[in-house]
């Protein structure tokens, strides 16, 4: 009964109700987007880091993975030390370098990863087979397109270029054995993977690597392993998933703050809109409400009916806003995904059911709160005086 009356009241002023629902829907869409932005980016990055189960990254002291050309010496020795630890399940040494694929007088520059195919966690093979032989190379789709190459083709690949002499060094003929999707590289980045030993020889960085990725048998032992590493490997920095997340938070903290501010603004706008609408609606129906009270309708009934009006507006707007929010989030995600250097797999706006429920829940709570004040005012009207005023008016 109360719900029927509340809906009838909203239907009475259709244009006004539609506008209010539209306003709440836009506020809800913005709120959903901001909740998705604040949590999605983090979750997406965490999922990416853990996608192959490696919980630790070991880099040259004071550097981030591939941030500089610094490398770790004595890679074989370090690998053996790491593999000897019972807590460590898998060790993947990686060397990063730029390589030039020679095509007549011109060349294509690509980012190369020197990997051990049996333990690598940098790419997923999409076609062909892994680069297990020393003269093989794995490439991504962008690279194959740029080079006009296919799986099975042989490429002339050089590791260095002297701009003064215009000569290449470390040249090799490598056979494209497979096509892969590289997990941590930016969209559109030309990338290849070469057996570690081959790339070390090509770049004259014998027994050096840029990074080790380490997978633990029991992730809860991470602190123990880290303590041991600090003592046993003093020239190496240990970056856990939590450390990487903290650095991402630091670098992209701006977006989290922006999402908090805009989310709060959306909530306030939704709240104000519903409050204003319900207040005006109640002011217009003062006579009607007083008559209802005079014929014996309880205060609680009046309060519930008015609160229901605000709640109905908020829920309808929030549900519409969820759909709208998903569309705008997709659009905003395409803008932010073009950040240079950002892994293609990162989503700034990651949809999680929890985010949608949070947005709808917050706006519904706002709708209930927004209806409370006008409801309380309407239920507290003095009956005799208001009836007289309405009659005179």
């Amino acid at each position: 009964m109360r719900l029927v009356l509340a809906l009838a009241s909203l239907r009475r002023n259709r244009a006004r109700t539609i506008l209010a629902v539209l306003g709440v829907a836009i506020a809800a869409a913005m709120l959903l987007d901001m909740v998705m932005l604040s949590t999605g980016m983090r979750e997406s990055f965490r999922a990416l880091l853990l996608s192959r189960g490696f919980q630790m990254r070991l880099t040259p002291r004071g550097t981030l993975p591939f941030d500089t050309e610094a490398s770790i010496a004595g890679a074989t020795d370090v690998t053996q030390k790491l593999r000897a630890r019972p807590e460590i399940d898998l060790v993947s040494p990686v060397l990063g370098a730029s390589v030039h694929v020679l095509r007549g007088d011109s060349s294509i520059t690509a980012f190369a990863l020197g990997v051990d195919p049996s333990s690598q966690g940098d790419y997923r093979l999409a076609a062909g087979h892994d680069a297990t032989a020393p003269n093989t190379i794995i490439a991504n789709e962008d690279f194959l397109r740029a080079a006009g190459a296919r799986v099975g083709d042989t490429l002339r690949v050089a590791a260095g270029f002297d701009p003064q002499l215009r000569t290449h060094s470390g040249e090799r003929a490598l056979v494209v054995s497979g096509r892969a999707r590289f997990l941590y590289l930016a969209a559109g980045q030309l990338a290849v993977a070469i057996p570690l030993r081959t790339l070390q020889q090509m770049t004259a960085r014998e027994d050096r690597v840029s990074l080790f990725m380490v997978r633990l048998r029991d992730p809860s032992r991470i602190d123990d392993v880290r303590k041991w590493m600090r003592i046993a490997l003093p020239t190496i920095d240990v970056i856990s998933t939590a450390d990487a997340m903290a650095r991402v938070d630091e670098r992209l903290g701006y977006f989290r703050q922006l999402s908090a501010i805009l989310g709060a603004v959306s909530l306030v706008v939704g709240f104000l809109l519903v409050t204003t609408l319900v207040t005006v609606s109640v002011n217009e129906r003062v006579g009607e409400i007083v008559v209802m009270r005079a014929i014996g309708v309880s205060r609680a009934h009046v309060v519930q009916q008015i609160v229901l009006e605000g709640t109905a507006l908020s829920i309808t707007g929030a549900v519409l806003g969820t759909g709208l929010g998903l569309v705008t989030a997709r659009y905003l995600n395409t803008i932010l995904s073009s950040f240079p250097g950002l892994p293609a797999a990162i989503d700034f706006f990651l949809f999680q059911p929890r985010a949608a429920w949070t947005a709808i829940g917050l706006l519904t709570a706002c709708g209930v709160l927004a209806g409370l004040y006008p409801a309380w005012r309407a239920a507290s009207l003095p009956l005799a005086g208001t009836l007289r005023e309405e009659a005179v008016a």
């Binding site: 002023n13 244009a15 006004r16 506008l19 209010a20 539209l22 306003g23 836009i26 506020a27 869409a29 913005m30 040259p60 002291r61 004071g62 610094a70 002297d162 701009p163 003064q164 002499l165 215009r166 003093p234 020239t235 650095r247 630091e250 670098r251 992209l252 903290g253 701006y254 922006l258 805009l262 959306s266 706008v269 104000l272 809109l273 204003t276 609408l277 005006v280 002011n283 217009e284 705008t328 659009y331 905003l332 803008i335 932010l336 073009s338 950040f339 240079p340 008016a393």
Partner: protein, 261 residues
Amino acid sequence: MVALLLALQLRTITIDQRLAADAHVRLGDTVVVSASPSTGGDSLIVAAIIGRRADPSEIARSDYRVHLHLDQLQRLIGYGDRVDRFAIATHGDSTADAAVHSINDAAFGFRAYRSRDIAVETSETFAVVSRFHRAIGVITIVASAVFLLCILLLKVDERRRDVAALRLLGISRRSVMLTVVLEAAFVSVIGSGVGVVIGWVTSIAVNWHYQARYQTPLRFALVTGDIVLFAVSLSLVLGIVAGALAARRLVRTHPLVLLGR
């Protein structure tokens, strides 16, 4: 001071403010600089502490910056007589293109670029952020427009009894409509004026917060004349449209109906 240090064969280094604060280093202190943590390095005197420039590309970069004498850095990192780039100043903008062509045609193994071309390349991050801000701005404008339209419709709708009274007194529909539209326009302008002040105060708070957070003199939020003009104009147009729509409906309804009779 520096001349004295040079005379004493002590080389100098400049470090950035953040490094000085984090490492508790002061002017005149001696620091040891090496190419890698495991090797010994050179002892250098801190000759200057430099602040960050208002450069967007330095935002969110947490790495420290130091400046060394070129020959010393070359020796420290085993770079030989090599440099990564040369910066060249030309006599005015018009000569820059000629200089670029001349170097590219003549110099073997070099490639010259105009500073502004490099700026376009390196500012891609900010172009993305800017596109994102613009998209958020459009959504905000749509939300504000709907909000404003709704509020003004309600405001005008509240005047139904006054409008009925004016109509019953014999005031023409045109005059009543004009009055209501003027009132809506007035409310819009006053509201947008208050909004501009709030925006201006917010921009001060935003700049204060982010300048402190990123330790940069860069200004993050600017309230320009164009922005103020756009906000006030949009608000005014919406006010007039909302006022006209609501007033049109009111003046077309019989005054007694407006009074609920």
